[in-house]
Symmetry: C2
Subunit: 180 residues, 2 copies
DNA sequence: TCAAGTTGTTTGGGTTGCCAAACAAAGCCC
DNA sequence: GGGCTTTGTTTGGCAACCCAAACAACTTGA
């Protein structure tokens, strides 16, 4: 079993990731970003942003010019774009493939965007590209899945059916474990 | 835009969720769970577990008998089972549908298991059940997706192709925004 | 130009969650 | 029975984050 605390062993924390993304989005939208703008975007105080960005500047992810306008270093830009891309890809996959309502998909992906590995994000991207390629198999699959979903039980999570599924998966996992 | 800090607005924190799951797994595996067992399972000190569980007992999620054996209340059990089911469903989906390597899927789902909404988990379950139903469309889809994946660019994440995809999704999102 | 608002920083406080270390209380072995 | 280990708790520290409040250094508008 892995150390479950790999959680906070990421290159950037959840908080830091959001600071970087906020700067990138502000730069995209308005062409500039200041401490106050970031604070407004994130819904926290200027003081908190000021302190956090001090750390990110120290780590070479965020830059600041003489007029206090913020920018992203190459590394910072890369991290921000990566997190943003992960969020968009995952959200689109949740909505288009799984049929999750837009609003809910947004909430979920916002929480997990910075935690998903590049590997998984990359695979998700492939699936999404395939889904959008208009391939016959993709169309047929989503169509059939919708139909399957409508026929399924409307109970909450986890329903009895899902509990059973989970137990089944767990059993399979144990068997695979034993084979080693 | 949502408050990104919905993150920590969950019924239980990441840490608490893992404590509950650890107790459930220990009970499943050995029939009992004590503070030390939980600590070993989570890879943290007994002191930390002792303090955390004091809180969870206070919130009525964890019980303790006169011989210091831990248990889960109905609520605690429900939360633990929910988190475990989410992890298994998501991991299986990542592996079976997206083609993520088992090990990596484990790491990823471990980080996000307690953050995914019931709604999304439920949809993911439907997709997984469909995938395992042996339906023709499901077989054809995974087959074609594998083929599509092999043909794709082997670059890291985010590749130029994925960046382009992300920009495209972002544009669609903005258009949907404007229509309101 | 000068009062009023905006901006960024600093400081003290609070929360969560971890550790290390020190203990007391059982449990176990000979 | 007397050591030795295991167990659970408590305590003091530390690191991330957040806030509120107080400041100084700007802009800016009439």
């Amino acid at each position: 079993m892995h150390d479950w605390r790999e959680f906070d062993q990421n290159p950037v924390s959840h908080s830091a990731a959001h600071h970087l993304v906020a700067i990138a989005e502000l730069l995209d939208a308005y062409g500039y970003a200041r401490v106050s703008d970031v604070a407004r975007e994130l819904g926290i105080t200027r003081g908190s942003v000021s302190v956090t960005l001090k750390g990110l500047k120290g780590r070479g992810l965020v830059t600041e010019d003489e007029r206090r306008f913020l920018g992203l270093s190459e590394d910072g830009e890369r991290i921000a774009r990566g997190v943003m891309a992960k969020k968009q890809v995952l959200k689109a996959l949740f909505v288009d493939l799984l049929g999750v309502p837009d609003e809910q998909a947004d909430l979920d992906t916002c929480k997990i965007e910075h935690l998903v590995s590049d590997e998984t994000a990359s695979r998700a991207s492939r699936a999404l590209l395939f889904l959008r390629s208009g391939a016959r198999e993709a169309e047929a699959f989503t169509e059939a899945l919708r139909e399957f979903g409508r026929a399924g039980d409307p109970a909450g999570f986890p329903s009895e059916e899902v509990e059973e599924l989970a137990r089944e998966i767990a059993r399979e996992g144990e068997e695979a474990e034993e084979e080693r």
